[in-house]
Amino acid sequence: MAGLGMGAGLRLLRRIPPGFGGSRLQSTQEAQAVLPKTGTTTATAAPPKAQRSLEESKSFAVGMFLGRLNAEQVFPYPSVLTEEQEQTLRELVGPLSRFFEEVNNPFKNDALEKVEDETMKGLKELGAFGLQVPLEFGGLGLNNTQYARLVQIVGQHDLGVGITLGAHQSIGFKGLLLYGTPPQKEKYLPRLATGEWVAAFCLTEPGSGSDAASIRTRATPSPCGSFWTLDGEKIWISNGGLAELFTVFAQTPVRDERSGESRERITAFLVERGFGGVTHGPSEKKLGIRASNTTSLHFDSVRVPAQNVLGGLGGGFKVAMNILNNGRFGMAAAMAGTMRGLLQAAVAHASTRTQFGAKIHKFGAIQEKLARMALLHYVTESMAFMISANMDRGDPDFQIEAAISKIFGSEAAWAVADECIQIMGGMGFMQEQGVERVLRDLRIFRIFEGTNDILRLFVALQGFQGLGAQLRGVQAALRDPLGNVGVLTGEVTRRLRRKAGLGSGLSLQHLVHPELKDGAQQTQQCLELFATTAEALLLKHGKRIVEEQFALKRVADAAIDVYAMAVVLSRPTSASWPRCGRSRTETSGTFGTCRGPWWRAGGWWCPPRWDSDSKNTPKHPKIPQKYPKTTLKHPKNHPGLPTAETPQNTPKTSLKHPKTPPGLLTTKTPQNTPKYPKNHPKIPQKPPWDSDSRNTPKHPKIPQKPP
């Protein structure tokens, strides 16, 4: 199985660094470009630089946490293919589809638990093993968007073959493409492109799955420095039995230049089977993707030449992160393709099966299923191509979005396969139709390349890192309020506006087509709710947020929902998709996608829970007491809601100003750290972000004390 890489989130759990968030996470962002770092450790920039670059990040997801609308990467829907590239792509789609329709037999592959020899040979001749290898090395030199389109075709027909190809080029030798030196590339890429040599990615060990940093395979340098001796064991390696070239991750002793002491750091190596000492175990028997060869690997004193170090000594973790990050969009694309195939099967069945005197697609229950399947497919496809286009354009920050697309795609595909079998009824359960095989194949996609659970933690924590950096800026300003009035006023204004339901000035209306304005409004509200909640959570927990996995998971789910909403607003709006012009189906799909999360977020009860006219709004001398009329009408006469008149009915609330707002100060601060400055003329009476429930207006129908 492909190695698991999102140990980033877990690294935070194991070693909480002094500043908020991890400088280690930051290194992944800075390493998007292909700069070979030779001989240096992963010494990364100090937190202040991290804070700056995260704040400058154009990523939509990062902006979400900061309460900003970073629309650049999402609106308009990016379209990066030149006419020539599009023409090429169209020419490639035909032969590849034909091959999979006519030559590849997924049933046979699944039954034999390997890809048939003829098919394998045909795939190699077809050139499917070197799609992204540059032309000068014998590959097709496709960019990410073109690759995503072809992977979509593979995913539609046979996921077992998809994994064989993906483990080879999407992760197996991706490290070589991203970090390889010219001699390394010249030596290995030509044979890899034709499929003469197959590659594999070796990270996972019996004791190290999600916790990738804890691998035990070791490489010891030789005294002369010309080779390394590699010892260790890897399990569940896709293509383990077929591969000739392995990207192996091992612990190596690394000398810290400054302190002179030796530490263990992960390094990536290019290991040829021909070096000797490399053996593989029998092919694992699996639930799904049986055609893919999965074995354990043993390295017994394998001599690896020093020039086969990949990405520099000690750079292995970063290499692993980036390889997996770079390959994630491919997975979403494959999932989109699989869902397309499943939809076709479901529709074919529903439109031919007659029960109760009618074709079953006439019945609402079936229509609902088909509609939901189409929705999930549309969102996944839109995400996949948006991210691949972002990467092709050179946008540096896409890791959170890539993780989101992987989570969404794998879970959506599972749901779609499940519903497809349901629509097909008993037929779906039979092996002959092939859908049961697809369901079995899909199960692993929620597990490998970063389990969805780990990726959720990553999405939440990476986002919080940016937010934490921003709040640290505020905190620093608070230590010197006189010198930072601008910062504080700005921050306070922003929060007050948000609290007042005015919105932070975020608006999507001008970015989307008028037909989609409802969805845009729902997305706006969700964005604001999300930012407010994220901030409140972070202030409540501070550094300990890394341990609050219940909250983190929910934050990640919300982030995924909001990103999906944004993506699905962007695609139909964009005029650069003439073939997929705004259709009623797409508009309804947008509606469907936006409404669910909006409802879940409580957006229907808007403006936010704290009433915009309430006397509880803190009075700031510089902010006008009466806010301009908002278009968001508070549903005044709803029985279950607090109304504007409520304050009269309630006993006077004692707004006790808490001495220290929870979470603002760290537990390790010294005694003379300034507390929240209560009596400063320019600071409001109490922190506007106090999420403490004492300030929630009291509703007559809600008991003050729980029974």
Partner: protein, 254 residues
Amino acid sequence: MAALRVLVGVKRVIDFAVKVRVAPGGAAVQTQGVKHSLNPFCEIALEEAVRLREAGAATEVVVATLGTKASQETLRTALAMGADRAVLAELAEGAAAGPREVAVALAALARRLQPQLVLLGKQAIDDDCNQTGQILAAILDWPQGTFASRVSLEPGAVQVQREVDGGLETLRLRLPAVLTADLRLNEPRYATLPNIMKAKKKPLEVVPAADLGVPAGPPRLRLLQLQEPPPRAGGEKVESVESLLGKLRHAGRI
């Protein structure tokens, strides 16, 4: 071996897997937005030409077609399958391109390029004319070997095995000759993705059809009406030959 050029004529047709529909108006087939591809018989002819070149019997394979700008895509596919260069005789949209026009264009190209062999598919799957090869041979006054199921080149001649109604017929034709390919001649290769990329660099020449003497007048054949066949009525099984004959007589069929 002396330079032996092979000219292959191809046609862009609606893909064989597409369910064809009658366009509104009833006088044409719906072609807008429908998937088109290289005619299967032309593919077989092209494959044979490429095999001849790979075997060393031929030195160059030129593929040509008469069609609109969209046919360039088809020529690219042909280049990806192994042709060396391509020529498009470009027609305006909606202009007639029946077997006679195609034969005239190919004849002009043949006089220009001086091939020793012209290979065509026996018929196109959209109109099923089975005329172009024959008309071309007549215009050029070259020998023709149609419905070829085996081709082998000899010095100055070509031996052709033809599939005819009565069986198989083998002919020896003096070069230059026109051959049309039948189904069992060979099995065309899949265009590999690297070859598709390489095909982009191969030369593709565009020549206006009028330059080749293609008559510009109205088509000599006018399609009056197209209609879909009546939907299949149910069949019936009978127990014996007598009852079968009885039923046929009753239905007025015999």
